[in-house]
């Protein structure tokens, strides 16, 4: 008997699926799966409002009520609350089910205003769709509906119309469970339940736009989209967000050739359907009136830039480049930028620089990232791997500010899955509250802290504080956490006020001690990982190979390669400031805003012989160029992008670029013609084929695979070698797409998928350029990856450490500066909804450091470094340790860039109070 029991138990254990009868048909479901999800997987859509696969089920709306028989006779139950059980019978079409759903809808409509003709949701509204499909023909309710003030702003970006709300709890659950910002809640519960914020405490979440996307009615409306379009006028393509380098998959929608909306698309490995507000709303900049639509040329001796034709501008650019090359040699030419475009753009510029310009001085980062060799050469983790790790080590900037959707994923890993987070940072960050251990270190001393963390033999004395701040006991506790199991390190630049070297040294120390560690780079700029993969860094060639190592391989197709390793961004800018750069090319780069040392950048732009800028806008830097070529922006070009994991996913063109603006790769190709050469490609497709053929890390990553259902999630480069083995994960039609819900969802999603597939094979419509046929050797379709002689992908090995920590000056404070989500970056600046959200440059000071000055929060203080002087508002911030001050990077007006000297190991500043109120803007004494 006992044996039989045992056997039965074992059988039970082995059983990985349960059988449920759904509308008379047997279906297999996973144990624990909810009826609503299992039914949907098998093609039966049960109507719902509150249920969302990425959030906890609550059974609020009762719309998904179906008849379920678990052995005790059929009973009405909400399908979103009932897990499947073996032998369960579910009837979604019985008369009782129909009556129940009909009744629920009649109830939900009692207070719903039915103002569909003026509601933005009309046409894509789950309430509308499901009423049509499952609801009553008419209401029996004749009384007065409840009334609220029509839309009230609950944040700078979101309006709330409480009359339309059906109280599904999606937005409030999202705010609490997913975003961790429970700033909206049900209040006045009872007859007058409403969603609202606390008085004067707006829903200021970086993720507020997601509530608009998941709202099943028109209660939550995004300000940038409100009254801009009707859903049936919208046209959409599948794409990838490039506001940061997480690579969220999106649907880009336009109306009348203007981008009007971005919606998150649910893919498992990346964004789960979520977007940050910056990514969601920065499309406004694409349609900005300030966009450059024609080339600009500064005539010799002229003060101002004047519009010119493309042929004039390209001729002027070619002349400037040629003059520099002939007079001062190709190594006097430098290319900065390229991290904001597509992989194809980056490849084209990488090839142009290496072959026709003849320089290796190229850098996609602006001295604000990590050394390229470390990024491409460290063992790389995926986001999934990071979230699944036993311990996640944060050694970089504030993830919530820089890569918000990665923050959502990490937060979920900690809160829902119990992952252990260890944070090393100079100041408190948005991740600190989720960290099991959060150790502070003094700027410049992170290597010492990591050494103490991993070095078991070096006994840290109880009185010691490695890294200057964290007590030995805390370090020991954190050290134990690092050795608990698998470890993924998120590596980035915690502060731009100090060089990257200490962080890279720290990574080396970590890798030496714990060789199984994998790394996820935390770099912000949209396609920075792709640009580095395409070789936009000194000493790197496309496909993550070193210059010398890849020379024989690439020389077969690339005409000539520069002799030696060139300069990185800091080297280029220093050389330009010293008058050693004959021609500086800015490919979407704005060193005056992005390079940590503004004074040096200013001298560089003045000192460079000839400056060519390729940009979407006239920035501070491109304004000083001799020739400015207008570039197509996000949504205006197709191609691929690469996220921090190395995941390649596709971008599609949705609107036409203003005027005659062109994609960066086209500009590179045109410039090549004017320089008397030929890059050998005439479309993004031919470029991609060349990348696949030549870049070792991208071998096997064919266009066909990227366009397949597998490519929908994006494919991680450097891990794929066999194009034949992919099995085919769910296509988009099967993915739950929270933005596009309702009974009609499937048709819409299909349209999206097919339109996306359709554009892949069409030639780029904006390519009106007369291109020569591709180089015969460069032709051919998808590569096979079998070409012999492909060099191996670079492996990073730690170099010699930069030495000990910088000596401490007890009279100074050390500056920490890192990015905020909203800053004075070009796209935020030109997005009217986002620009006002930049918090401004305010100096966070520990209260104990502020007290001796005799002032508190709000006081204006003069901040002086060896480099410059700015006047800022001080804020008492206990999250900033004593001895450090924190300042947000790249905020409007003077700020951190005016204080930093990139040659120094740390930025030390002194504070003085001002006896007289200082002007609110303008530089200090050295202006």
């Amino acid at each position: 008997m006992a044996e039989a029991d045992q056997k039965e138990k074992e059988e039970e254990k082995e059983k990985t699926t349960v059988t449920v009868t759904l509308d008379g048909q047997d279906i297999e479901a996973e144990p624990g799966e909810l009826v609503i999800a299992a039914a949907e997987r098998h093609g039966t859509y049960i109507p719902r409002f509150c249920y969302h696969p990425r959030m906890r089920e609550v059974g609020m709306c009762r719309m998904c009520i179906v008849e379920i028989d678990s052995g005790r006779g059929p009973a009405l139950q909400p399908a979103c609350m009932a897990p499947v059980a073996d032998g369960m019978k579910v009837d979604t079409e019985s008369a009782r089910t129909k009556k129940a759903q009909d009744g629920v809808l009649e109830f939900l409509l009692i207070n719903h205003p039915l103002d569909c003709p003026v509601c933005d949701k009309g046409g894509e509204c789950p309430l509308q769709d499901q009423t049509l499909a499952f609801g009553p023909g008419e209401s029996r309710f004749v009384e007065e509906k409840r009334h609220f003030e029509k839309p009230i702003p609950i944040s700078d970006l979101v309006y709330l119309d409480r009359e339309r709300c059906v109280l599904c709890d999606r937005c409030t659950r999202f705010a609490d469970e997913v975003a961790g910002d429970p700033l909206i809640s049900f209040i006045d519960r009872g007859n007058h339940t409403q969603v609202n914020t606390f008085p004067d405490d707006p829903f200021a979440s970086y993720f507020s736009g997601n509530t608009v996307q998941i709202c099943p009615v028109g209660a939550l409306l995004a300000r940038p989209y409100r009254f801009r379009a009707r859903p049936w006028d919208l046209d959409q393509v599948e794409s990838t967000c490039t506001a940061c380098s997480v690579g969220c998959r999106i649907a880009v929608q336009s109306s009348s050739n203007r981008l009007v909306r971005k919606l998150g698309v649910d893919v498992d490995p990346v964004n789960w359907g979520w977007l940050c507000d910056k990514g969601r709303f920065d499309f406004e900049a694409v349609g900005s009136d300030d966009r450059l639509g024609a080339p600009l040329v500064r005539a010799p001796g002229a003060e101002d830039l004047a519009e010119a034709s493309w042929s004039q501008a390209l001729a002027a650019a070619a002349e400037g480049i040629t003059r520099a090359r002939i007079r001062r040699g190709p190594e006097s030419i430098a290319v900065l930028g390229g991290a904001r475009g597509t992989n194809e753009d980056a490849y084209a510029w990488s090839k142009l620089a290496r072959t026709l310009l003849g320089t290796d001085s190229v850098d996609a980062q602006m001295g604000d990232g990590l050394p390229a060799e470390a990024v491409v050469g460290l063992p790389r983790a995926t986001i999934d791997a990071a979230c699944a790790a036993d311990t996640i080590l944060l050694l970089g900037p504030d993830v919530k500010e820089e890569l918000p959707v990665l923050y959502l994923r990490l937060r979920e890993a900690v809160v829902e899955r119990g992952a252990t987070l260890v944070e090393l940072s100079p100041v408190e960050t948005g991740m600190t509250r989720y960290a099991e251990a959060s150790l502070r270190y003094r700027p410049g001393e992170v290597t010492e802290l990591v050494r103490a963390l991993v070095d078991e033999s070096a006994a840290v004395g109880d009185s010691e504080r490695p890294g200057g701040l964290a007590p030995a006991s805390a370090v020991r506790e954190a050290a134990a956490l690092l050795r608990r199991g698998s470890l993924v390190c998120l590596l980035g630049r915690p502060s731009l006020a100090e060089p990257a070297q200490p962080v890279v040294d720290a990574a080396g120390v970590l890798l030496d001690a714990l060789p199984e560690t994998t790394f996820l780079p935390v770099l912000r700029r949209g396609n920075v990982a792709g640009a580095l993969d395409m070789g936009l860094a000194p000493g790197l060639l496309p496909g993550r190979i070193g210059l010398d190592q890849g020379r024989p391989w690439l020389a077969r197709e690339w005409e000539a390669l520069p002799g030696g390793r060139g300069l990185d961004a800091q080297g280029i800018i220093t050389a330009a400031a010293e008058g050693r750069v004959g021609c500086l090319v800015l490919v979407g780069a704005d060193p005056l805003a992005d390079f940590p040392d503004r004074e040096l950048a200013r001298r560089a732009l003045a000192g460079a012989g000839f400056v060519l800028a390729v940009d979407c806008f006239l920035t501070d830097s491109s304004r000083r160029a001799d020739v400015v070529l207008p570039a197509a922006a996000f949504g205006e070009k197709s191609g691929t992008t690469t996220n921090i994991e190395g995941r390649v996913s596709r971008l599609h063109q949705k609107v036409t670029a203003p005027g005659t603006a062109r994609a960066d790769w086209m500009i590179a190709a045109e410039l090549a013609f004017h320089l008397g050469g030929d890059l050998g490609f005439d479309s993004v497709d031919t470029i991609w084929d060349e990348i696949e053929r030549l870049a070792p890390s991208h071998q096997g990553l064919t266009r066909a695979r990227l366009a397949s259902p597998e490519g929908f999630d994006g494919i991680v480069a450097g891990t794929v070698h066999d194009a034949e083995t992919h099995g085919g994960p769910p296509s988009m039609a099967q993915t739950d797409s929270p933005g596009i819900q309702g009974a009609l969802a499937h048709t819409k999603v299909d349209t999206l998928a097919s339109s996306a597939m359709g554009t892949a094979d069409k030639p780029d419509p904006s390519s009106g350029l007369a291109m020569q046929p591709p180089d015969p050797s460069g032709g051919g379709g998808g590569g096979t990856g079998t070409v012999a002689g492909r060099p191996a992908v670079l492996r990073w090995t730690p170099g010699p450490s930069a030495g000990g920590p910088p000596p401490l000056d007890r009279y100074s404070l050390r500056l920490v500066t890192s990015r905020r989500l909203y800053d004075d970056g070009t796209f935020v600046h030109h997005s009217p909804s986002l620009a006002p959200l930049a918090p401004g440059a305010r100096l966070g000071v520990n209260p104990a450091d502020l007290a001796p000055l005799g002032v508190g929060t709000g006081a204006r203080v003069q901040v002086t470094s060896g480099r410059g002087r700015v006047v800022l508002e001080a804020v008492a911030d206990p999250g900033v340790p004593q001895g450090s001050v924190a300042l947000a990077w790249n905020q409007p007006g003077p700020g951190a860039a005016d204080l930093i000297d990139v040659t120094l190991a740390v930025t030390e500043v002194r504070l003085e109070t001002l006896s007289v109120p200082a002007p609110t803007s303008g530089r200090g004494s050295d202006a």
């Binding site: 961790g180 910002d181 429970p182 700033l183 909206i184 809640s185 049900f186 209040i187 006045d188 519960r189 009872g190 609202n196 914020t197 606390f198 008085p199 004067d200 405490d201 937060r411 900690v414 809160v415 119990g418 987070l421 509250r433 989720y434 099991e436």
Partner: protein, 198 residues
């Protein structure tokens, strides 16, 4: 007025320590605030949120569910006249009208001197003794118009202070839970999961 006094913060911390999760102390702390000011102000709710590690709107979400947490200033005495079925049949509406005439304010309003707030309420579970009313949630049963007049006069004159403390006062004797019975989240408290507020 507004934020909790330092004495009440002390009390709040003691109350918080009685629970394994600080959030459980939310309603008791709302009572502390209402006892302090006679009503619960937004400043008080913000302060409670700070003490509990919640956002203010989470406090509001709970506070606004309970009609007896007043989120607008009320008089020293809140007079709640029942107009539900039993009282209605036995003169509840007339009783309310009488109170309105006597106090010179409509139901829902506060007298200009800030002594009385008059409100009509649904059943207060004293149907056997209808018509009835409450003053600061103390029952006055089977009450006649004359008795109401006397009651209001007595309250205004401070003659019923023993019986009817000011609005917000819960009990005269504060419950004291011995420290060893606190679930405690000092050093030996329950583990707090990451992401979970205390």
């Amino acid at each position: 007025m507004g934020r909790l006094t330092s004495e009440n913060v002390e009390l709040a911390r003691e109350i918080i320590d009685r629970y394994p999760r600080s959030r459980s102390a939310l309603i008791p702390l709302l009572h502390v605030a209402q006892e302090q000011d006679g009503w619960v102000s937004t400043e008080a709710m913000s302060h409670i949120a700070e003490l509990l590690g919640l956002t203010p709107v989470e406090v509001l979400g709970t506070a606004s569910f309970y009609g007896m947490f007043k989120r607008e200033p009320v008089g020293r005495y809140v007079v709640s006249v029942c107009t539900n079925i039993s009282c209605l049949l036995l003169g509840g509406e007339e009783l309310l009208e009488h109170c309105e005439a006597r106090l010179g304010v409509k139901a829902g309003a506060t007298t200009p001197d800030g002594v009385f707030t008059l409100e009509d309420v649904e059943c207060i579970a004293a149907c056997t003794d209808a018509p009835c009313l409450q003053v600061n949630y103390r029952f006055f049963l089977n009450i006649t118009h004359d008795e109401v007049d006397r009651l209001l006069d007595d309250l205004r004159a401070g003659r019923r202070d023993e019986e009817v403390p000011p609005h917000g006062t819960l009990t005269r004797v504060r419950p004291r839970v011995p420290a060893e019975r606190w679930s405690g989240h000092g050093a030996e408290g329950l583990p707090v999961l990451p992401g979970q507020s205390r």
